[in-house]
Subunit: 214 residues, 4 copies
DNA sequence: TATGAATGAGTATTCATTCAT
DNA sequence: AATGAATGAATACTCATTCAT
């Protein structure tokens, strides 16, 4: 009780992240449409109306979840990529590792499945996510692939399409976990999965020796 | 049995599949929750109440859609695999081609996204789908991979996990198409995509020359 | 039970007017915004959802009330005016008498006050009412005034403004009854009120003898 | 007491009228129910909670607005009438002119419509308004009419009812302005309107020459 | 069989009011 | 006195399901 800020204030500052955490959990668990804001509020320990003091509506809440949770990782990865020198395949591994740590192993891991499931019904959200997450993520992979192809580290392929093929298993890993996990034997070991994916890619993307020499 | 059966009877017998077709389209387009049974009925040319003569409720209709949808193609592919001799990579290409023709290019293409989106809400349906579609699909890929590894055509890897990595981009192609397609530049060219996927796999799975010789 | 139409059908045909009557009562009693559709429905003896089978939403219900109740009287009066020959003051008396019988002495009498009270908050409704009721009512009075001025029956005055002055006491009579009626001694005797209004108008509008002769 | 009192104190004492002014504007603009107390507070430059230090609740605020609004003008007109000698029609014109200046051309002009719209919901307020404003206003007009009839300046008519007929267009002018003004061509020119009203009255009320002589 | 009229549970959002600071 | 964070009651509208015809 010495010099702590008043309780009211302390709570006010903590509210947004408490609300975002509760919203993330419920969105991931039940989907966007099926999540009741009253449940979000009560999980965060406040009343329904309080939520509206911080977020204008359900969509704004969702966007905030994405904004706070996912975009920072994209930004981090953009910085990593900008500084990186050397093997482009190594870069992709580093980006993946960071993404896995910050997203794949956290509560945010449920977001890709959430987006896939709700995109059609909430085009605004889909567009927001597409522009702020997907597009930027694709750009990261794309530039690594492009530079690798130019340097001879990778074979020459259609870059835009290759991006999607490269990303797909990574997304699918999470989508799987948050959809079909009901079925017992569907337990994938993520680290093994990612390792095999990258292993296949290493061989699959590799330029011919001739090209590499050049 | 000379001419076609009387119209009314034909109609009556055709009802279930007409309803399923209408339901598939709408479920795929809007998702389960957002699909109105009235719309399903009117697209099938009947009144709302009629639907309930054939399916107990919305959930039963959904299950019927899924169950009718995909299994026949699995059966076909199982026959193809049983007869196949020679390169296991070729076999995988053949299975994929058949699957693409029968599923990927038809209205059933929307089912994977639908299952992913709704699995959590319909655990027993998810289990059904898992056992009858996913497991059998995985088994097909798995035996091709296994035989390929044994023959030296493929490198040795953890088979179960590799199955998932191999399948993931194929599923993701469809999931993508039925979720994020709202966003302009997300136009993937499926044939190119699949070709690159198989191309990466060909190189990625290939056994070392040494092993192959053995 | 001889040849009566089935109960269901009979009720279906009666619904709209039952709903409109209930809506009129409640709108007039509580105002548009404060009227709960659930109350309208239950006063009409149906459930909330049933209302939506007949009227798309609250505003549509309101417009229907006006359409069914008020506009026909306007139409009648337009027909009366079209056929009328002779004194324009007499015409105004006839129009007023009809309006008083069909509106002023029925449940629709509450509508002017309703519109005045809610117009600002529901501009769509206001516009609808203005165009379909007020404008046409003003036109009726306006053409009587104009012809009367041309024939010398009335003095020459600014017609558009005179219309409003002539109509005002008539509207105010109803507005008064549905607002300040709470106060005991505010009991106006409508027939006397209207008679005095017309009496004042008769003298007030009268052309000079000179003009009349012309 | 030389200079103005300290700012803070002046502020405090000015609060109530600042709040009433803000409330009047908003009540008139949006109606009672649609006015948000937060908007009233912020227009008056205080926080929401502050409002409750001065007025117990929304209803109390509304009552205060009405009570402060109009009575002073009634008092003025009562004084004018008490002193007046000569033509009773002239007196009515003078009273109207004063009322128009002090009410019709100020923010108070919105009060009649406000009272009409809300009287049903606030019966005791309506009674207050009736007794303190309407009744006293009617009495002013009534005594002018009565004396005019006695002197032969006006025809003999039912005084109580004539009062209402005479007042109606004046009230309606303001009611109109604050309700249906949304609709384009409903632009009334107030001065013309009032002039025509008084003009009609002058002729309408006039006693027969015979009577006048007596 | 087939219809479609009727039902009523379920939810995002607003805002008057309270009260800890 | 003044603030503004927190509360929770209140309501339009949708749609799966039922059942009289």
């Amino acid at each position: 009780m010495s010099s702590a800020p008043p309780l009211r204030k302390r709570r006010k500052e903590a509210r947004p992240s408490e609300l975002l955490a509760a919203a993330l959990e419920l969105f991931v668990e039940k989907g966007f449409a099926a999540t009741r804001l009253e449940d979000v509020a009560s999980r965060a320990g406040v009343a329904k109306g309080t939520l509206y003091l911080y977020y204008e509506n359900k969509e704004a809440l969702f966007k905030a979840v994405i904004q706070e949770g996912v975009i920072p990782v994209i930004v981090e990865n953009e910085a990593i990529a900008a500084q990186h020198r050397g093997s482009n395949f190594d870069l992709m591994q580093i980006l993946l590792a960071n993404w896995w740590t910050k997203i794949g192993q956290t509560a945010y891991a449920g977001i890709p499945k959430l987006m896939v499931a709700e995109a059609r019904n909430f085009p605004d959200l889909a567009r927001f996510y597409y522009q702020n997450v997907i597009n930027r993520g694709r750009a990261l992979v794309g530039s690594a692939l492009l530079r690798g192809m130019e340097s001879g580290e990778f074979r020459k392929m259609d870059v835009e399409t290759t991006i999607d093929v490269v990303i797909a298993p990574i997304l699918m890993l999470l989508i799987w976990r948050y959809s079909m996990n009901c079925c017992e034997n569907s337990e994938v070991h993520p680290e093994t999965y990612l390792q095999i994916h990258m292993d296949l890619l290493r061989h699959g993307l590799r330029g011919t020796e001739k090209e590499t020499r050049v």
